[in-house]
Symmetry: C2
Subunit: 467 residues, 2 copies
């Protein structure tokens, strides 16, 4: 049964999470969940794999990155690629839910080229909030942007939300003369403008078969970004653009959105960026992407290419009105946002911890001190620690029958309270309670003598006095 | 891109979780995590799949239930079968962690025959706490049993912990005359004693090649259960048993354990049950299983076959001293417990909710009421709701520009506070704040007029007054 030549690693593009790093991630989850609940969200959890046919034809050329399960007899399944398609599948199965705000926090899987240092993994968390149902135009879209602002305010991170509209983008391409069958591929070239200079993007477009003139015209349009109302004025004042049906519809949506963002008081966090395209096939209206950036740092153009390219987007989403209908029942328009928690975790940086020494965040250490002959008082240490555990207090003792004093003192280091048991004190119904003071060298301080029966109450009192 | 003949379901043996059911599960996780932290636990998260060779040869004949990923070029991987082997893999990769209490809550995967009504699924949660490292005998084992008691006390569920020792079981089989190569298979027959009458178990043993006499002798031994000290007396007083080396070692462990459980004050929750065998190959010492049962209901035998067979075990674990060493580096003795959260969730029963109406747990509903001509005050509703969201309050409004009064009143039903906006009041800088009273038919109550600038403070005051 024993083998010694096994390669000890996690699969390519995956990693373990441990200790402080994981505790930080949990705190981020809790913060985000709290915002989702403020906005009336209901949680959903779906299986990690779905029937393969449910996921297929939803992600365009990215579908090749899907993990498939082996055919072991039975259904063909794949690991979920995002949380949006499983939500759409759930909606299609639950016709009674016509209006719903749902949230889901879970891992998703993409067989992409990993770049672990930059936080780009094959297994990573998404944290999604979506609003499904027929509402008045742009009202749920505006709330999603408000959820984004609320989340990053709660996390204490400055951000800019770049927004665009698929119909405006499609209209710009049409006006510039892009043939219908090249729309998606030119769109994906334009999407790289936040990572590449314009010259390289233009080169890619020419290689994809555009004329120099068309490419230049696209460049003129999509390199615009800034305040929504200014951008809308620009689009409306250009007769060629204003005469395009898609652009007019998009401009109408964006004008409504601008008034709603102002009512929420969050218009300052939003920048209208015509180069934003988003890869996934299913988006049909407003699209958005969040980049790390204190709004005060942003110039009038709302751009800071360095910050954006280093961390990449930390949240993204959009409107997808046709996805649920693809499952063949009723259509349900939806809009939603997905937060990239692993990247946010990288930015917030957990407190470091020494390898081999896990942070336990103990509140009390229970030790016994005596001469060489004494029996270690293990049963007494257990009984007292159990009383603390029962009271909800984080406590520990050395798991040895006769531990050495130094070993116990070392283990109690940095723990706010230490309880010290001695045979004589116990015989008198007493224990010692010592408060850790980082600024005082107090190795000889044996703490205050208190009655054993008051111990738990005394500890509770001391812990509540902590800031 | 559209297909209408897709089968809308989750894969076999999996299901979605939604709303109250999921909120209950999250509360259970939070309660259990709190107990784990009390005991000094550090969290670990591992990938959902592992290299296939890491998981193989760890689960005996259950290995055939493993989900494999398709070979898409690169490494061969399988979905994790439990959280114990990934923890052992992590320990083997991290030689600096010689002493660690780690916890992990995550889904595991087994291609078993599902029984969804009984909560037996192919994708299910485990919630594990393990203590790794060389300590004095049975000290960590006793703490694991204390973690179990603390968890179920925190959840408000009465339980009995059935314990046994692999060496005692092996010794009993040896004394009864079971050949070494039949030990595991006879052990799995004995393990069914909580679900089958003795006659059927005996029949299975005879079919597996035991003599009538050997089978009867096993039956005499393994049908014993009860108080640990009584059971130890029985084992010690039988010369044939007491002369077996394995039994003597097991009895010594169990005697130590008995004294520790007494120090913790939890010996009343534990029953020594010689029929408990546990299927997994890697257990090497103490083994245990938790069944739902108020200790007061249990007779002196500590058994209630009905309760046990209906829900099955809701937590289980044991000592596995050789698993980490199988990865070819250093051996690390471990003991741990795994809680079956999905079953616990079934027992605790979430508050029911009507299909199509998700519980949102809102605190405030913001509505606007006016005559037919009025504009719905959407921007005002948005501005006020955003102020509530910023203050951390769960609030909502109807996402329509001009919602009908009835629609809003319906949506505000059961929400503790309603804010009512009217054009005249707003012009005077005022809004109405109405407190929902389930016992009063107060459709005409329009609430109290308060100054708009005091609104958030007033709402916060009212919400904190709630029990």
């Amino acid at each position: 049964m024993s083998r010694s030549n096994i390669q000890l690693k996690t699969p390519k593009g995956t990693r373990d999470w441990f200790g402080n790093e994981l505790l930080l991630r949990e705190r981020i989850f809790a913060t985000i969940t709290d915002v989702f609940k403020r906005h009336g969200g209901t949680p959903l959890d779906t299986p990690v794999f779905e029937l393969k046919e449910i996921l297929s034809e939803k992600y365009g050329e990215d579908s090749r990155l899907m993990y498939d399960l082996e055919d072991q007899g039975g259904e063909l399944c794949s690991l979920r690629f995002d949380l949006t398609v499983p939500f759409a599948r759930w909606l299609a199965m639950k016709p009674k839910y016509t209006y719903i705000k749902r949230y889901q926090i879970a891992k998703v899987y993409r067989r992409d080229q990993p770049a672990i240092a930059r936080g780009r993994l094959r297994e990573f968390h998404q944290c999604d909030f979506d609003i499904a149902g027929v509402y008045d135009p742009m009202v749920p879209d505006a709330e999603i942007l408000c959820v984004i602002v609320d989340v990053f305010e709660a996390l204490g991170l400055g951000i800019t939300i770049k927004i665009n509209h698929r119909r405006i983008l499609d209209g710009l391409f049409a006006v510039a003369g892009v043939p219908a069958d090249k729309m998606r591929s030119i769109s994906s070239a334009v999407d790289k403008l936040d990572k590449m200079p314009w010259e390289d993007v233009k080169k890619e477009m020419l290689e994809k078969g555009l004329s120099d003139e068309t490419a230049d015209q696209i460049g003129e349009y999509v390199r615009r970004s800034g305040n929504i109302n200014d951008m809308l004025e620009t689009l409306k004042s250009n007769d060629k653009l204003a005469s395009n049906k898609d652009i007019r519809a998009g401009v109408e949506d964006m004008s409504l959105l601008a008034s709603y963002l102002q009512a929420f008081g969050i218009d300052g966090s939003v920048s209208f960026d015509c180069s934003l395209a988003r890869g996934l096939d299913y988006y049909s209206g407003l699209i958005f992407e969040v980049i790390m950036q204190a709004p005060s740092d942003a110039g009038p153009e709302g751009k800071s290419p360095v910050a954006a390219s280093q961390v990449g987007s930390i949240a993204a989403g959009g409107r997808y009105d046709n996805l649920v209908g693809m499952f063949g029942k009723r259509p349900v328009p939806c809009v939603g946002i997905s937060f990239g928690v692993d990247r946010i975790c990288t930015i917030l940086q957990p407190p470091s911890e020494k390898e081999g020494k896990a942070s336990r965040n103990l509140e009390v250490y229970v030790m016994a001190i005596g001469d060489k002959e004494f029996d270690g008082l293990l049963l007494e240490r257990m009984a007292i620690t159990r009383a603390l555990w029962k009271a909800g207090i984080r406590a520990e003792y050395t798991a040895k029958a006769k531990p050495r004093p130094l070993q116990q003192i070392q283990a109690a280091k940095d723990v706010p309270l230490t309880i010290i048991l001695g045979e004589e004190e116990l015989a008198a119904g007493q224990v010692r309670l010592k408060v850790f003071r980082p600024d005082v060298n107090d190795k000889k301080d044996m703490g205050q003598l208190i009655a054993r029966e008051n111990l738990v109450a005394e500890v509770e009192k001391l812990l509540q006095r902590k800031p």
